[in-house]
Symmetry: C2
Subunit: 449 residues, 2 copies
């Protein structure tokens, strides 16, 4: 017995309504599940268009191989050979639980300069070898020892870094087995490949370069970095290697690095979490035809070096986990340098400021609150807050000229400036951060599972 057309029609209409309802519910659901967003690992929307052309540095050669430390089907170990005469300066995490590699680099840099013998840097991704006790120190020793043997260097001239998961033993034999292969591949032009081999949660490789006219020839600077923030101890340690052919004394180079690390790598924050492995090494091979760096050339070289450091630092923020906005926080009018830093980092680290930026909400009240909690000397009636050029608040209240629509339109940009004047003194500090998005939570809640 068949149904009537009318019955069938009713049934079909009912099902069609159900389909429509389910479709609209599906549309209302968030576009991508956390897992999906993670699997896709899209390049950060704040990434530069492409990796820059880095000049090769006479006296520096690079190689990268697949050692399978943790990742499969990608290069995860890089080696740099630096010619005799190279001097090395550095800066490191201040974490009290810093890794074996960091402690080892610090100890080697404290030795008297043995530049005559050349040097090497070996770096692996996938395992940070941090908080692995004596076993970790032995693993580090095995790797640096093998590099020293293969390149005929004293082990005190072999620097190393490891980045990746904490607390797992480093499978050092996977790395040492590849050292002959690495040595065979050393190539002055392989710097981009090296930049890729040290990536972990990074969505793009980071490079920056500069050229300075020295007396008698050009001086080149090429730097690479990895990191998705200062930030994640697991997979986003910040590692930075800068190479130059400048002829410069180690002490001069170290002074320059120390002078600028504060305004560059120590002025960025993704989530206020400091890595146990953060490492910056700057190597000068001295092979430029230019004369020794001094006088006006030293000034130009130092400015160029700072520029490379700042570019790499900002690229780390632009690759901040889940970031959709790049934010420059400028604090001026502070009573002291310490107050300026406190206020700037309080704003840059405030989850409420960072979520407001993610939501494109010009919520200046949260900036006021962040300043208030910072401990910096401040007075409600002397505060001035600007979004870019837009005066938002002054004299203890919203500025009369401020219109919420202007603030809202400004927040839609991907690069933002939050400028605060405390009206207390003349100290300043600028720091860089990114927004806090649901994707940050998804990446970090799901990381090991």
């Amino acid at each position: 017995m068949g149904k009537s057309d009318r019955d069938w029609k009713a049934k079909v209409e009912k099902l069609k309504a159900k389909v429509a309802k389910l479709r609209s519910r599906l549309e209302a659901a968030p576009a991508a599940s956390a897992a999906k967003a993670k699997a896709a690992k899209p390049v950060s929307p704040l990434a530069p268009e492409s990796f820059p052309a880095l000049p090769s540095i006479a006296g520096a050669e690079f190689a990268a191989v697949e050692a399978g430390v943790k990742y499969q089907n990608r290069k995860d170990v890089m080696l740099v050979r630096l010619a005799p005469g190279t001097v090395i300066a550095g800066a490191f995490t201040k974490s009290t639980t810093r890794s074996a590699c960091v402690r080892d680099c610090q100890a080697k840099l404290a030795l008297k300069d043995t530049a005559g013998e050349g040097a090497a840097i070996i770096v692996n991704s996938g395992n940070s070898n941090a908080f692995t006790g004596k076993v970790g120190e032995e693993a580090m020793g095995a790797v640096t020892g093998a590099v020293a043997g293969a390149l005929n260097l004293p082990v005190t001239r072999v620097f190393s870094s490891s980045t990746g998961v904490i607390g797992e033993p480093l499978p050092h034999e996977k790395i040492t087995a590849k050292i002959p292969d690495l040595v065979a591949r050393l190539d002055a032009d392989a710097v981009e490949m090296a930049a890729r081999a040290i990536m972990t949660t990074d969505t793009f490789p980071k490079g920056a370069a500069a050229t300075v006219q020295g007396e008698g020839g050009a001086i080149h600077i090429s730097g690479i970095a990895k990191g998705s923030g200062m930030i994640a101890p697991d997979m986003a340690t910040m590692l930075v290697y800068i190479f130059t052919d400048a002829k410069i004394a180690q002490t001069s180079l170290q002074k320059m690095v120390s002078r600028h690390v504060g305004a560059t790598f120590n002025s960025i924050t993704v989530d206020s979490d400091t890595s146990t492995s953060d490492t910056l090494l700057v190597a000068a091979t001295g092979q430029s035809p230019a004369a020794e760096v001094k006088g006006e050339v030293a000034k130009a070289f130092e400015a160029a070096l700072k520029g490379v450091m700042l570019s790499l630092a900002q690229q780390v923020v632009r690759d901040g986990e889940g970031a959709t906005k790049f934010v420059e926080v400028r604090v001026s009018g502070a009573a002291s340098d310490e107050d300026a830093a406190r206020a700037a980092f309080a704003i840059a680290n405030s989850p409420l400021v960072k979520t407001a930026v993610a939501g494109e909400d010009p919520n200046w009240g949260r900036i006021v609150a962040a300043i208030g909690k910072s401990g910096a000397a401040a007075d409600r009636d002397r505060l001035t807050i600007r979004f870019g050029d837009i005066l938002v608040a002054e004299k203890g209240w919203r500025a009369p000229s401020y219109r919420e629509e202007d603030g809202a339109a400004y927040m839609k940009q991907s690069d933002l400036i939050i400028a605060v004047d405390l009206g207390q003194g003349r100290a300043k500090r600028t720091v860089w951060t990114c927004d806090l998005t649901a994707r940050y939570v998804a990446i970090n809640a799901d990381y090991r599972s």
Copy 2:
């Protein structure tokens, strides 16, 4: 012309298949979109089963009304009248941009004790009257002045709080218009209604009580609080009002409050953001039949008061925005009290620790990193980390007895203990926090839009 039954059947089957497909896609999508989650405003999964039965306090009467400050169709202003003889103690946010109400309460508590004349507390939700310049001070003066007039009290005995959005002028005339109505409704048993009137992003009203046997009768303590953290300057300021019929000198009461505010309200953090309006007021009416609090009774009273403070503080964390886990962080073995606090808050505020907890990931490496960045004296080889009773790490590495499955099973609980011994000294600190979820981001990115 009708279709054949077969045609209809085919069509129906096709639609059914579509429905099934859409259903399974919907199931795969995240449970609730941010907007939906926000609209529903479900009660925190960490909330207590119900509001506790609070004893009425002789000499304290409560009233709440709908004034429409910002919210519609809910009570948003509460008034407390306190009988002559009431003494009041307090503790407040240390923010340098604290609100007009906070400054006013602090100034009034600093005056010589005028308990003889009674007192009042008036609180509105929906607008924090913070960062509103002179206009804000005038609004606060208008409200407290009107209450003083209506209750025949000196204005120096009228305390006020405002909680809600920053930087918007407080529509004080909406509040003052309701004062006769509030006065008419004053009722010793309306404390739960008062607890509800001060809620903002709270998902449940917060109350706690205790009774102490005094000499000659019982002494009661009833407290209410609001807050979804220490945290949000906009909508989640922490306000706490505790009432007791104890006979006690103002200076003794203030000392007790000051002694315990550190281990209670100043030991909680949802997102490290401090409000501009945080206020704790403790009022003792002296109307208990019991004799003046002293000796052993004072000890019992102080312990009970601390218990009420701790319960309310923990309820604030249990209502942390987006929270799904309640986390106790215990630090012991620190070299100093300051170090203990630094390490405890570094763990409790670490976005990486908090996202790992949200993801039920026993990621102890992030705890090591948080300790490392805290600045507290620590030594990798002397650290001990436990999840509840499970020994996770010791002597610079994962404990030999630790199995990842045990850690993973532990993290599935809703109440967690992270215990760290620094092995440096004897100082301790315990703090409470919650996890950091995508819902936290959704709530705070969308708040004003």
